[in-house]
Symmetry: C2
Subunit: 136 residues, 2 copies
DNA sequence: ATAATCCCTCTAGAAGCTATAGGTTCAGGA
DNA sequence: TCCTGAACCTATAGCTTCTAGAGGGATTAT
């Protein structure tokens, strides 16, 4: 049994975040001490680690709810887990593609070597859509 | 002079967003009709286009404030504009790098061909940090 | 017993919008 | 001129994932 502070240290999830996850229904409300303080079990810690790891991989709270639910049923088929992961992979790839476009454009405009705003490619580009290379 | 609806159509910025920008101090409060409705000038439209374009490139509201301020002073040096753009480019690159890491990991785990949760790499990975390849 | 540290709940804020409610104004036709 | 329907107004709340603060109680170590 450990306190929320202990749990926080061991999992690397900040205290208010743990309480937030409880509120969002990602983790069960744990037992309480006589003085009403949260007391977590090892299982609680495992669950929180799962959540933390999932967040690090960028899964949304909703997705994590699904994944946690699945993880409770080892005998079930895992298509759903694959679906969630694959969809998320798609999202990540889309974001990468978008950012690559931005990167290209930003690289171009920030390479400007003008001295004054009047000739600056950064400002010029932002002010005039037609100067833009990429069609975003 | 056009109404907010016209402005919205011409710039592609949604009406509530225009009002939000006004509130955030990105655009000046425009003149009003006798009945208190907003009436924009061509200058107002140019400014909003600048903002829209900047947002498309991912600049924050604060950055855009700076860029707009600079764009008003064509005679001034443009180091600041370059600084803002270069910093933002750095941000974008950092995000790309992070997402690439996620992509690699997600690709690995969603390639799992297990049938049940018990053997599923997705769930397994999330549950056990030590199985993780990348050191995120 | 007391001080230091921890924990509690509740609320608000951050970013950048979007949506809704309840009401007013405008533009065009009869 | 009146009417209708579309467009507009303000104010407020919601989205997502936390994070920070206020004001007060619990625990732990000495």
């Amino acid at each position: 049994m450990f306190s929320i502070g202990e749990l926080s240290k061991r999992t690397g999830v900040k205290i208010p975040t743990i309480r937030y996850y409880e509120q969002m229904g990602l983790i069960d409300a744990p037992e309480r001490s006589e003085g009403n303080q949260r007391r977590y079990s090892k299982d609680g810690m495992k669950r929180l680690s799962f959540i933390r790891h999932s967040r690090e991989l960028g899964f949304s709270i909703e997705d994590i709810k699904g994944l946690l639910e699945l993880s409770q049923h080892p005998e079930k088929p895992c298509n759903n887990a694959h679906n969630i992961a694959t969809r998320h992979l798609g999202d990540v790839r889309a974001r990468i593609a978008k950012l690559r476009g931005l990167e290209r454009e930003l690289k171009r405009i920030s390479g400007c070597d003008a001295d004054t705003i009047a000739d600056c490619a950064v400002i010029e580009t932002l002010a005039d859509h037609s100067l833009c290379e990429a069609d975003h």
